[in-house]
Symmetry: C2
Subunit: 185 residues, 2 copies
DNA sequence: GCAGACTAACCAACCAGTTGGTTAGATCAC
DNA sequence: GTGATCTAACCAACTGGTTGGTTAGTCTGC
């Protein structure tokens, strides 16, 4: 066990910050708590990441990177894509929370380059798919992407007031996939 | 113009608090700012609403009440219902933000009675609609409600990274209504 | 005149961010 | 190889400012 290791410390801070930001958001996160969970001094966070906002940026960018790496887009089978998005956020609810905090707490933050690029590439794919008659032309590419995204994450945006009546993951997943199939019909 | 009027002061506090909570959430809201915008002393908030959390409860409950009063549920025309939900949150984006903050910052808060009751009544309506063959049985009532809700608010949950490519309200509304029609087909 | 609407001034706790200094471990002269 | 030197990882303690919440007392409509 090394006592000093900048990579390891950096990673521990990032992990602790991810947990804290996902649970409490940018404003609600506490630097002290992150440092404590990371097992290092508060000053290290500032040495490695600058300040609280920049730390959140690092956390969120990393989270988006992981998402884009893991969930591949596929115009030829959009229901399956929706299923994968569902699976991903079912396995990593923290990452969806992170993006919700980002949307709420950074209403006019300048958009992330990486996401813009991915969005554009997906819109292009959809356009091509429409020309190839693989994707119906009922909706515009943007509308379709928004609908699929919303349907895939429909359960997480539900009120907690449903309680026990919320079905299990298998049934919820099927609802997502079938709904996207129907939207594309 | 009265200088002292408890109803009026209470209403001004509620309005200011709604604005502040919608913009910054529970943790991010500042009591001082609310008092300043309401044009009264901070101590009045505590006299009328107890504390910050209870003030948020009052704000959120009131917001939910307005929503339930204004957007009527109708099993016989669910696409139109989705359209009304869309219109409502297009006109009052603050109220959607409020409910998102609630979901994020009160993950284990005990559910609101009013919402539970409304949900149950809507699920019952859907069940009856399915028996009357007005609503297809492809999805369970809960699944259907979740899907419709998600589709109706699909645009607000979009990343800010789409920028200019987001279409205008009329086109977005049509996408919502058509999507629900297709889900029900 | 008095209940209760209202306020200025206050407080302990907390917060993001800083500072001055310590120490583990790599580097190098010999 | 090994002691001296240097670098950078690390930390306890602090700072200026803010926060939710309180209190003691003033004012006013009825």
């Amino acid at each position: 066990m090394q006592q000093r290791n900048s990579d390891r410390t950096r990673a521990r801070i990032l992990a602790a910050a991810t947990e804290e930001f996902a649970a409490r958001g940018i404003g609600g996160a506490r630097i002290n708590r992150i440092a404590e969970v990371a097992g290092c001094n508060k000053a290290m966070l500032y040495a490695y990441f600058g300040n609280k906002d920049q730390l959140f940026d690092a956390v969120f960018s990393h989270s988006v990177e992981l998402y884009l790496d893991e969930v591949g887009f596929d115009v030829d089978d959009l229901p399956a894509y929706a299923g994968r998005v569902f699976d991903y956020f079912e396995a990593h609810p923290d990452r969806l929370r992170l993006s919700t905090w980002y949307r709420l707490e950074r209403p006019d933050g300048q958009p992330l380059e990486a996401i813009i690029a991915v969005n554009q590439s997906r819109l292009d794919d959809l356009q091509k798919g429409m020309r190839r008659r693989v994707v119906p032309r009922v909706f515009s590419p943007v509308s379709l992407l928004a609908l699929i995204q919303a349907v895939a994450t429909s359960w997480t945006s539900m009120n907690p007031e449903y309680g026990e009546s919320v079905p299990n993951a298998i049934i919820r997943r099927r609802a997502v996939v079938v709904a996207v199939q129907k939207i594309l019909s």
